[in-house]
Symmetry: C2
Subunit: 199 residues, 2 copies
């Protein structure tokens, strides 16, 4: 009864099949939305048995959360990389963030921010919604840090402006894949950062 070690607890550990499922989910959920992709499709496309699927992810919602975690990891990584590539000056890093946006928009099949899209499909208060808020909050907290290092008089306000711009770029880029949009976001960010730091 209480012997947890041998019972079939939801496997969170890596596994060949689990990776395949997660991989398929990442592609399909992003491309079509979480609601448009059924469990059967996921199973078929990842070449896995139904029982295996439900063993690793007791419900579809669990898979959605795992998908969101993957999106978080990917996007956060891209932001950090873009900042690092912009040099050592924190002010340049703040602007450099927007190179991640440009790269994302250029990628084929770009469809905006996985978090925002998923949140649009889930009701406020749901786990997916909550996780989206946490993600956005973490990103903004990190940008606030960079803004602090850049010596901004009001780092929180600067970070807020920049995240607004970033989210706007993500949302707009999902509609028309106009490269000008991302570039405009970057230019605008440059202006905002310069104005904030020269105050």
């Amino acid at each position: 009864m209480l012997d947890d070690a041998t019972e079939s607890a939801p496997t969170a550990r890596p596994s060949e099949a689990r990776n395949r499922i997660l991989d398929t989910a990442n592609r399909l959920f992003y491309a079509q939305g979480v609601r448009a992709v059924g469990v059967d499709t996921l199973i078929a496309k990842s070449g896995v048995a139904k029982a295996t699927f439900y063993k690793h992810f007791p419900s579809k919602d669990d898979l959605v959360l795992a998908y969101l975690d993957a999106v978080d990891k990917a996007w956060t990584g891209q932001l950090h990389a873009a900042a690092a590539a912009a040099g050592l000056d924190p002010a340049d890093q703040l602007v450099g963030l927007f190179d991640a946006l440009t790269s994302a928009c250029e990628r084929d099949g770009y469809r905006g921010c996985g978090f925002i899209n998923t949140a649009a499909e889930s009701t406020p208060g749901s786990p997916a919604h909550v996780r989206t808020i946490a993600h956005k909050h973490a990103v903004r907290a990190w940008i606030t840090d960079v803004a602090t290092r850049a010596g901004a008089p009001d780092p929180a306000a600067l970070a807020r402006s920049l995240t607004l711009l970033l989210d706007g770029g993500l949302a707009a880029g999902a509609l028309d894949a106009d490269p000008l949009t991302a570039l405009a976001a970057r230019d605008t960010a440059r202006g905002i950062v310069d104005a904030a730091l020269s105050a």
Copy 2:
């Protein structure tokens, strides 16, 4: 056969039942997303017969498009009203736009931009997606006009910056109903407009 006048062509004219359906759709689609609301729910909540529903809207997608038209009318109206309320100076009007954002975020049950949310649920190329792009384009064109009247050296670029900010505010406000977000958008807009006009 060819006598169109008497056959049951999809009624686009107003009608008591039609209004009720559209009204329910506006509420439910916005609150829960178009995919989460089934035809049966729509019918039950608007107290209408199924046949009546399908007479006015031959398919659910038709209703979705009608819903988007309503969203367009509402949001465009609010933007125009906010601009007008900001006074006669076009520069003030550009900033005043963001009062519409603030009001929207404060409204109870606010869940972002109906267009962006619906687009997140529909595949690129679908009628809903196309209509969303058209809506965003129309808004930006109008803002470009105002920017031109304000004497901006590059009205298109200014409008692009402002719409990015606006979309960002719409997306962010849908997650956490933090009133600071909308205010930050307005402040940022003020800075951008002033910078653009003093160039």
